[in-house]
């Protein structure tokens, strides 16, 4: 593993080039400064300032207000519901991602490209439409709406609908991280395990899973971040019942619309903190996955 980590420092860096080559294939210092300045100004204006604002506004009225905002009953129930929705949708999409990747990466079958396109489909559907289609299926006037009413089950404007909408919008994350890596790794190691007498599950747990663990974790982290932060899709199916069907992003909206800005930003800061943790983990894992992909490439050469 150590060698994999080392091999990540291979980006070409203009500053490292010998002086003689620098004049011909890089830009003059003031062009550089101008470009760096423009890029940083753009990122500052659109990314960094909003991020700082969230924390600044959250703590503007002091710790007391902050603490009260994130511990009041409605906020607590929103946090709980967000954890439930992510806690169900992430494992569900994890299992789907692994089985789809296993079929697609290790076997050659008809219709593979169609399946690949279908997996990416939820990313190109607006979150609002993702919510709408579940209302059409499970809502009062929907296909199965009356059946669920008769059996005293509530999907729309209740927790199951929120979970379903969250599953839809986070659907591709794990699968699309695993598929390219597992395709690159090929079948040889699994075939060897089988020849040596491993059962199907032994092969899976001891060969396949360890080979893809970083990519898997990467997919799970991205999936989780989106699951906890989803707003549009959940907003359509939730019904906004305080203390019952509000997730954290929906709670933020309600509190914000009541002009309790400090409270809204306090809950928002929890999600912003989650986003920063996600980015940190993402960065660490990305280096590992890059190293792993490179190792796979070297082996096949």
């Amino acid at each position: 593993m150590n060698t994999l980590v080392l091999s990540t420092h291979d980006r070409p860096a203009g500053g490292d080039l010998p002086a003689a080559r620098r004049s011909a294939t890089t830009e003059s210092p003031w062009v550089r400064r101008l470009l760096i300045g423009a890029a940083l100004a753009f990122l500052t204006l659109f990314l960094f300032v909003p991020l700082v604002t969230v924390f600044f506004e959250a703590f503007k009225k002091g710790w007391g207000v902050y603490w009260a905002a994130i511990t009041e009953p409605d906020a607590r129930s929103a946090i709980a519901l967000t954890l439930i929705a992510a806690g169900i949708s992430v494992p569900a999409n994890l299992i789907f991602g692994v089985s789809a990747a296993w079929a697609i990466a290790k076997f050659d079958f008809r219709g593979k490209n169609v399946l690949l396109t279908l997996i990416d489909l939820p990313f190109s559907v607006s979150p609002v439409i993702a919510g709408l289609i579940y209302v059409l299926v499970f809502g009062l006037q929907g296909w199965f709406g009356s059946w669920f009413i008769d059996n005293d089950m509530k999907i729309i404007f209740a927790v199951p609908g929120i979970v379903l909408a969250t599953i839809f919008v986070t659907f591709p994350f794990v699968a699309r991280e695993l598929i390219p890596l597992m395709q690159a790794q090929g079948q040889e190691q699994e075939e060897a395990a089988r020849v040596l007498g491993a059962s199907g599950w032994q092969m899976f747990w001891r060969v396949t899973l360890p080979n893809v663990k970083w990519a898997l974790l990467y997919g799970v982290i991205l999936c989780n971040a989106r699951a906890m932060g989803e707003f549009g899709a959940v907003s359509v199916v939730s019904g906004h019942i305080r203390g019952q069907t509000n997730t954290m992003p929906l709670h933020i909206e309600i509190v914000y619309n009541e002009y309790q800005f400090a409270a809204a930003f306090a809950v928002a800061s929890l999600l912003a903190f989650l986003a920063l943790v996600t980015l940190g983990l993402k960065y660490v894992i990305e280096q590992r996955v890059k190293g792993q992909k490179r190792a796979v490439g070297d082996r096949s050469e």
Binding site: R11, P12, L40, L51, F109, S126, I129, L279
Partner: protein
């Protein structure tokens, strides 16, 4: 068993094909295909005239104009500055480069509602940035543009960055040896190589912006005919129990996104070919 006998192109010693593909197909059907088809089937219960009325009333057309216009402008700004950011991150050294590189993905990780209230606060008339601007941003169509720029930032940077990293430096040296100025080398050698990736990034940012809801509704002001985006109109119709009207607009958006998805796929194929050829 049926799956492996009918679909497999050649026999494999590995187990689990039926289980894995069977589960994947069942799951994808239940979660994605059946609900999506509900949208299309719902519109078939409408007459053509009522469908057309629903998708072409003045308020809806105004929302298309805003959504498509602001998405296009935001993706265009991201194409220009995204290229600059990718270039700077690949070619130059400066303080905190790795941190900044990691933060480029912030819009992927930060929930849209959080981004929405933060941008609204900053670009409001008394906000950190808004107070220095001579014109209003929050609660105007310009606010929609700002939110869509935010969510589109990573797309161009992350599609252009790997291609720029792979640009063969010898090509630039050759161009320089043959007397090209740095600007000529950039426009005639480097830009053609990164162009497919740049267009892909632009299309991805544009497609994402079309469907965006969470970050926009806080900053937009949501005035009918002025600053109301199409996804919000779908929600408004739903709240009025106009399910058919909401679905008709949704189908227009879905067809647009699927067309964009096809375009993006062919752009990516082109990009791969172009990269492979160099």
């Amino acid at each position: 068993m049926i799956l492996s006998r009918t679909l497999l192109k050649r026999h494999s010693v590995l187990p689990g094909f039926d289980l894995a593909l069977g589960f994947a197909l069942l799951y994808i059907s239940l979660i994605v295909l059946v609900p999506l088809s509900a949208a299309f089937l719902k519109t078939f219960t409408m007459t053509w005239a009522s469908f057309w009325d629903a998708v072409s009333s003045p308020r809806v057309v105004a929302s298309y104009r805003l959504t498509f216009g602001a998405s296009f402008a935001a993706a265009a700004l991201n194409a220009v500055f995204g290229l600059a950011v990718a270039w700077v991150l690949v070619r130059y050294e400066f303080p905190f480069k790795r941190l900044i590189d990691a933060l480029v993905d912030l819009p992927f990780a930060l929930p849209t509602a959080v981004a929405g209230i933060a941008l609204t606060a900053i670009y409001a008339e008394n906000g950190w940035i808004g107070q220095f601007l001579p014109f209003k941003v929050s609660f105007t169509p310009l606010g929609v543009f700002v939110a869509l720029v935010f969510i589109g930032v990573p797309f161009v940077v992350r599609t252009v960055q790997p291609v720029l990293e792979d640009v063969n430096r010898e090509l630039e040296e050759a161009a320089a040896t043959l007397g090209a100025s740095r600007w000529q080398t950039f426009t005639k050698v480097i830009l053609p190589i990164v162009l497919p990736a740049l267009l892909t990034g632009f299309a991805l940012a544009f497609a994402r912006a079309l469907g965006e809801y969470g970050s926009v509704i806080f900053i937009a002001g949501n005035m009918p005919m002025v600053s109301e985006i199409t996804p919000l109109l779908i929600i408004t119709k739903l709240e009025q129990y106009d399910y058919a009207g909401a679905t008709a607009i949704a189908v227009v958006m879905l067809v647009t996104s699927f067309a964009l998805l096809l375009l993006i796929n062919s752009l990516q194929t082109w990009a791969r070919k172009r990269q492979g050829g160099v």
